[in-house]
Symmetry: C2
Subunit: 206 residues, 2 copies
DNA sequence: GTCTATAGAAAGATAGAC
DNA sequence: GTCTATCTTTCTATAGAC
C-alpha cells in the first residue's frame, strides 16, 4: 500500500535558492498559523504548501517553535495596526473588526494568529512579548491620560474578543449584524477608551 | 524531558462503580479542558487523573469529541453566570474578570474553556451552540432596548478577550492592574452595554 | 467494570545520499 | 540545497483477557 500519494505539488520554478525557499516557508507558515493556530498545523503541511519537504523547515528555522516565533515577528512587524492619525484610530480599529477578510492577508490577521495559537503555552510565551512590543507599546504611546497601559490592554482585549466570536466561534449575532451600525457602536466604545473621558473623575483618593 | 514514569495515582476507594467512574472522568475532563484546551490534553491524561485508564473514557463517552461535548454542557449548565439581579450584573461580570481563580472551579472557567478550545474546529462547533444557548440567550433576555443580540455578543467578547489577555497570554498591564480600579472601569463599560444608554437613540428604560 | 496490549495514524526531528 | 527514509514519541481508539 502506498503510504501517502501526496496531492499535486505546486512545483514552481524555484531551483535551489536558499533565500527564496526560506521566504516561501515563512509565508506558508504565516498563513497556516493564522488559519489553524500553532497546534492545528504540522511542519509537513507547512513545508508542502511551500513546495518543499519538512526537512527544510527545520534546516532553516531550527524547530517548529522557532519557525512560529519568526512568523509572529514578521506578522506583527509589518502589520501597521497602530500607524496613522490617532484621531481616526478608533474608527480604523472598528473597521478592522467589521471588515470580512476571507482568504487574503489582512491587518486583522495578527489578531487571529494570536488567539488561535494562544492555548499552546510555548506559543503564548512567544506571543506575550510580541504583543507587548508591537501592539501595547504603540497603542499606549498614542494615548493620553491616566492608566494608559490598562486602557490599551482593554482595547486589545475587546478587539481580539470580537474577532474570536466572529471568526473563530462563528457567532451568529455578530456575523449577521449590520456592518455600519456595529462599526459605529464599536467606534464609540473605542473612542471612550482611547480618550480619558471614559474614566471615573470621581475623587478616588490614594 | 522525563518520559513520565508514573506519577502518584489518587487511587481512592472506588471499586467498580460505573456511575462514579463516569462522573470522575467528567470532572477530570472539565478541569483539563479548562486549563489546557481541547488540543492540549489527551484522553490518557484525563483518564489518569480520574484514576482509570483511557479505555474507560471511550467506553463511557464514545470518543474524545463527545467527552468534550459532555464537559462543555456540564460546565455551562451549572455555571449560573447570568443568574441573579440584573441591576448588579455589570458588577458581577466585572468581578469575574478581576478575580483570580488559581485552581478551583470558578464561574469564569467556562470562558477559559471556550477560548482555549476554540482553535480546534470541532470544538468550536460544539462551543458555538452551547455559547448561544447558555450565554447569549440568558444575557439577551436580561437586557432591554435595541440591538440586544449584538450588544450581548459584544459583552461576551469583551469579557472573553480580557480573560485571554489576563489568563492565557499573561498580559502584564492587566495582571498588575489595581483590582478595584480595573473592576470599576469594567463595570462602567458593561453598564453602558447592558443599558441602552450607550446606544444612539431611545429613552431610558429602567 | 476495568485492565493490558496493541493497532494505526500522525507528529517533530535527524541521518545520510545525491 | 534538497531529498528519501527512518527514529521516536504521542495520539485516539479497539480487541480481548479477567
Amino acid at each position: 500500500m502506498s503510504p501517502k500519494p501526496r496531492p499535486p505539488i505546486p512545483k514552481v520554478s524555484r531551483p535551489r535558492n536558499a533565500g527564496a525557499t526560506r521566504e516561501a516557508i515563512l509565508q506558508s507558515a504565516l498563513t497556516a498559523f493564522v488559519r489553524q493556530g500553532y497546534d492545528g498545523v504540522g511542519v509537513r503541511e507547512i513545508a508542502h504548501t511551500a513546495g518543499v519537504t519538512a526537512v527544510l523547515v527545520n534546516r532553516y528555522f531550527g524547530s517548529k517553535e522557532r519557525l512560529f516565533a519568526a512568523a509572529v515577528e514578521a506578522m506583527f512587524t509589518d502589520s501597521g495596526l497602530f500607524a496613522g492619525d490617532p484621531a481616526t484610530l478608533a474608527q480604523r480599529l472598528a473597521a478592522l473588526v467589521v471588515t470580512r477578510s476571507r482568504d487574503d492577508r489582512h491587518p486583522s490577521d495578527p489578531l487571529l494568529l494570536l488567539l488561535r495559537s494562544a492555548p499552546n503555552p510555548r506559543a503564548a510565551a512567544i506571543l506575550r512579548q510580541s504583543i507587548a512590543s508591537h501592539c501595547e507599546q504603540p497603542l499606549k504611546s498614542l494615548m493620553r491620560g491616566p492608566k494608559r497601559g490598562e486602557r490599551a490592554a482593554i482595547i486589545l482585549a475587546l478587539i481580539v474578543g470580537l474577532q474570536l466570536f466572529r471568526k473563530v466561534i462563528g457567532n451568529k449575532a455578530l456575523a449577521d449584524a449590520n456592518g455600519t451600525s456595529l462599526s459605529a457602536d464599536l467606534t464609540l466604545m473605542l473612542e471612550r477608551l482611547i480618550d480619558i473621558s471614559h474614566c471615573t473623575e470621581s475623587p478616588r483618593n490614594h
